[in-house]
Amino acid sequence: MRKLFNNIWFKCISVLLAVIICSGGLIAVLSDVLYVSPEVRTKRALIKIYGEEKSYSVVIDTDSTDDAVNSPIEYEKGKIDKIYIIDKENETDGEYDFVFKSTGYEGYKSGNVTLWVKVSVNGGNRRISKVILENYTKQTLMSKLGNGYYDTFLTDVTDGYFTADKDGEGVKNVVTGATKSATAGVNAVNCVIAYLEG
């Protein structure tokens, strides 16, 4: 028995397995204890947009359990996960806010970018009034998308879509250092416009 324990084969395999099981277990425990539920993420996003908590009513929410609302709206270059209508205290009719959570595909290394988009509706006029980043996958050059990038989206929702290629003559051209990540962001916002345009 003694010989088995300091046999090099056994030592190497057991150490590697031990490290993996310990770290895997640790990550599992931590990711469970420190689990951030979708509601909390939405709360954080609303605080970032409005500066304070807001109650909202759900139009679409992929994380909710009841089936009427949890199917996302798929588009060719992205999808919309959540649509909320923010409850207004002074109920002046015709003026309310949408908050979308949309994901754009075709980012850097075919990863995707998820954004929160706030659209304020005032009578017939609909305007994108706030865009913030939720998270992203595989975008290593995200640091290049500064605030300037997100502010270029703050325009009225007319029929024009955004494009992100350098020489694209699209209506509103949004080009940044990290063109691939910008494309994913633009796709996300275009989904919102596509939804609003119906």
Partner: protein
């Protein structure tokens, strides 16, 4: 933090992830140990123990590629511990015990440049080209008129990892505080005018020319003209004249500094 039941995360994904990485780990552990068995390099622990005692500076003074090679040569008895100057005497004693070799605590050494010419040595031509003494002396023996003197391009300075040799006004000078006598400069100097002398030495000859006095006068204002005054004035006859150049026998030298005072060209300098 209620009792944890892993309810928030999908346990199935967790298990598959752990499973894959575990399988990978086992596979690679087996592969690695297999390669380690195939490529087992048998370094007997004697070499390892010696390597720990050596200074580890990898300076190359001992003539081997680094301390590891020198340790292997020592273990096989091919090299002698005196080859490595930077290692301190106590470490050498330990190594001698490991090797079972009698250890004579031989003298500590220091490097010294047998030349003080530099700017006061005349030049045959102005050299512009690749740096380094080795390259310069390929071209007609270097730019200095004196064939034996230091040409001051600093190959010794470049190779000394202890930063102990510096070329000051055209000639290399050893900083005795920093020199650990590793011997790299002795090997790199193409003119072979750097020598390891006992650390206890007080004086040294700052010239290495064997030309006759008249040629030396013409080539360098501070070169040794072989007048022999130092030989005559040395009370213990420690200095002998060989081929127009004085040579000090440090076992006899009592550091009376007579030679330093008497030398008309100030070629004999104190350490």
């Amino acid at each position: 933090m209620e009792l944890l039941l892993l309810k928030n995360i999908d346990v199935k994904i967790l298990l598959t992830v752990l499973g894959i990485v575990a399988v990978l780990a086992v596979a690679f552990a087996v592969l690695i140990v297999a390669t380690s068995k195939i490529c087992a390099v048998k370094t007997d622990e004697k070499t390892e123990k010696i390597k720990e005692q050596l200074s580890g500076a990898n300076c190359g003074g001992c003539g081997y590629a680094g301390c590891a090679d020198f340790a292997k040569a020592l273990a096989e008895g091919k090299a002698d511990i005196s080859g490595c100057a930077p290692t301190s005497p106590e470490n050498k004693k330990i190594i001698a015990e490991i090797l079972g070799v009698p250890f004579s605590s031989e003298e500590e050494k220091i490097a010294v440049v047998h030349c003080q010419g530099g700017d006061n040595a005349k030049e045959k031509f102005k050299y512009v080209g690749n740096e380094g003494c080795g390259e310069e002396i390929d071209f007609m023996g270097g730019k200095k008129l004196c064939p034996h003197g230091c040409i001051g391009s600093g190959s010794c300075e470049k190779n000394c990892i202890y930063n102990a040799v510096k070329v000051t006004d055209g000639v290399a000078k050893v900083d005795t505080a920093r020199c650990t006598a590793c011997g790299v400069c002795v090997k790199t100097c193409p003119k072979n005018i750097i020598e390891l002398i006992p650390k206890s030495a007080k004086v040294y000859i700052a010239c290495s020319t064997t030309c006759r006095g008249k040629d030396v006068m013409n080539a360098c204002s501070v070169g040794c003209i072989g007048c022999g005054l130092c030989v005559k004035n040395c009370p213990t006859l420690a200095i002998t004249m060989e081929n127009n150049l004085p040579k000090i026998d440090y076992s006899k030298c009592i550091a009376c500094h007579n030679c330093v005072l008497k030398c008309p060209r100030k070629c004999i300098k104190t350490l």
